[in-house]
């Protein structure tokens, strides 16, 4: 899928007259503000991108169960998906740097995800599900960086902070709504219907994307500053990026954050399922959706504050909320209290959602490797999540859920201390 898309995109470069135009175009872009239509297009695009990703999580295994799949086959497909996803993040980011039109890369990725959902819904056979999963993973590894690249290309470094806040708001609304609607759809209609809905939602996602004017997105700015296409500049940019200590520090901190974070929600859900008699389903849904409300309400403020306070204080707040949440979850047994504590997830979610791409934009500025940097941190996120599931699963089996929460909280404290001690302020001095 990636190879095909690269070919098409390469042709598009040739169509527009080659790469030598880029410098002058970049100058022209820098002076004018992006159009209102493009801004609106990006709002809705982030909203629908969040929607189409909802069904592919743990829900896939529920669906395959309804299709009489055995646990062994389900486990195998999910493992193939996670391993390829880990391996695909960096190449995905690299592709987004390399292609000229970020919108076209994003459009192909959205179509890939829609197609994947359609295949899953109509042909739940082993070979087709593996193919659909691989298509989804490849598309997602491009789509993630591409959304941030379009954002940076649209508004530029100076204005990217509030715009990322706005993105996070629309993504959170999308996540929350999609979780509610698709959860209800799976419960009242069928698990299969969820994937049909996902496939259909790819259409408005592409339409929203087409509202973003090609001319408003500067491809050079979207890569973080220089032209990643020319070989010498790319080599220089790559070594310069990889040698930057803040990138290494941020990658390690994000990895540790996700080691502490990823297993918390599943553990919360299974704890609520065990403790609550009547409202288990609704309470687990609340644990998933409540943080999205928080993210939607505070993200724009996070984006603005990142400009005035700088990145570091906000990072510290987001990283501090995580161990606090773990400690409270270890301490409380009451299902309603658990839902309240989950709101803290929204604080971390908003901070990470806005600040990670923002700090990466800061760090990769002038290297032309913004999206590769996103891929690197994306891999760290995946590795962290995998370790989290293994570690917390072990602790929960041996010592109980409270100990597992405490272990996750302790890892979160470690991530916080590391961030406090080593992470520099990345906001450029104006």
């Amino acid at each position: 899928m990636l190879r095909r898309s690269s070919g098409e995109l390469d042709r598009s470069v040739a169509d527009t007259g080659g790469r030598d135009l880029r410098g002058s175009e970049a100058e022209a872009h820098a002076s004018k503000a992006p159009s209102r239509a493009s801004q609106r297009g990006l709002d809705w695009f982030t909203f629908f991108v969040a929607d189409i990703q909802t069904g592919f999580g743990p829900f896939l295994s529920v669906y395959l169960t309804t299709q009489k799949w055995t646990q062994v086959d389900i486990g195998l497909v999910l493992s193939i998906g996670s391993i390829v996803s880990l391996l695909g993040q960096v190449p995905g980011g690299w592709v987004v740097d390399w292609v000229r039109s970020k919108q076209r890369a994003a459009a192909l990725a959205v179509i890939g995800i829609g197609l994947s959902a359609l295949i899953i819904a109509v042909a739940p056979l082993f070979a087709t599900i593996v193919a659909a999963k691989l298509l989804h993973v490849a598309s997602s590894s491009v789509l993630g960086p591409a959304v941030a690249a379009i954002t940076l290309g649209l508004v530029g470094h100076a204005a990217v902070s509030p715009r990322l806040g706005r993105n996070a708001r629309f993504a959170a609304i999308g996540n929350g709504l999609a979780a509610g609607v698709m959860g209800a759809c799976g419960y009242f209609v069928s698990a299969q219907a969820v994937f049909f809905v996902t496939a259909v939602l790819a259409v408005p996602a592409v339409l929203a994307l087409s509202r973003i004017r090609e001319a408003d997105v500067d491809p050079v700015r979207a890569d973080g500053g220089i032209d990643a296409c020319s070989a010498s500049a790319a080599a220089a940019g790559l070594s310069r990026l990889l040698l930057r200590p803040p990138l290494v520090i941020l990658t390690i901190c994000v990895l540790l954050f996700h080691v502490a974070n990823a297993a918390m929600l599943p553990l919360v859900g299974s704890d609520v399922t065990m403790r609550s008699t009547q409202w288990a389903t609704a309470l687990v849904a609340a644990c998933i959706i409540a943080p999205q409300f928080v993210v939607a309400s505070i993200s724009p403020a996070v984006g603005r504050l990142a400009q005035s306070w700088g990145r570091r204080p906000l990072f510290l707040i987001g990283f501090a909320a995580l161990p606090l949440r773990g400690a409270l979850l270890a301490w409380t047994n009451d299902p309603y209290m658990i839902v309240a504590v989950q709101a803290l997830d929204g604080i971390s979610g908003a901070v990470l959602g806005v600040l990670v791409p923002l700090a990466l934009a800061d760090i990769s500025r002038g290297t032309g490797r913004f999206n590769l940097a996103q891929g690197i941190v994306g891999s760290a996120t995946g590795i962290g999540a995998a370790l989290s599931t293994i570690g917390a699963g072990y602790l929960a089996d041996r010592f109980g859920t409270a100990t597992a929460f405490a272990g996750l909280a302790a890892t979160g404290v470690f991530a916080f201390v590391l961030l406090l001690a080593t992470m520099p302020e990345t906001k450029p001095a104006e």
Partner: protein
């Protein structure tokens, strides 16, 4: 069980005969082959609803509605099914629990046309049952007395 059974039927008779009422199969071109005839006597055809598919089947408790789904069966060394693994709870697949329930606690009851798999436990008994783990000794929840 049914999957193995079905495979035999498909191989010898074709899918159309699976759900039909006790037809004596295989008259015609395959007549006279002793191996085929031997298999035919070993593959009786059951009426629709006499045998039910289990994997992925929704389970209900007697009082409340949906209690989960059968995701696996556990058999002893003689091949006798001893327990069914049921997955329940959670939302969008997040926070589900798996428990093993004694096989005799499950049965099909008819609610009009569709047979429904009923578990002889309350929702409360299900939710506090110990979690089933694939690679550890299974803890099986017995039916309430």
């Amino acid at each position: 069980m049914r999957i193995v059974y079905r495979a035999y039927v498909l191989r010898t008779l074709g899918a159309t005969l699976l759900c039909q009422v006790a037809v004596t199969p295989g008259v015609g071109q395959i007549h006279g082959d002793p191996a085929v005839e031997a298999i035919e006597t070993l593959t009786p055809v059951f009426k629709r609803n006499q045998l039910e598919s289990l994997l992925g089947r929704e389970v209900r408790t007697r009082v409340e509605q949906d209690a989960g789904r059968v995701i696996d069966l556990l058999a002893d060394r003689h091949g006798r099914v001893q327990a069914a693994v049921i997955e329940f709870g959670g939302f969008l697949g997040i926070g589900t629990r798996k428990i093993a329930v004694e096989w005799t606690a499950l049965r099909f009851e008819s609610d009009g046309k569709q047979p429904v798999l009923i578990v002889d436990l309350t929702r409360d008994q299900l939710r506090v049952a110990p979690e089933y783990k694939a690679n550890e000794p299974a803890v099986v929840r017995r039916a309430s007395d």
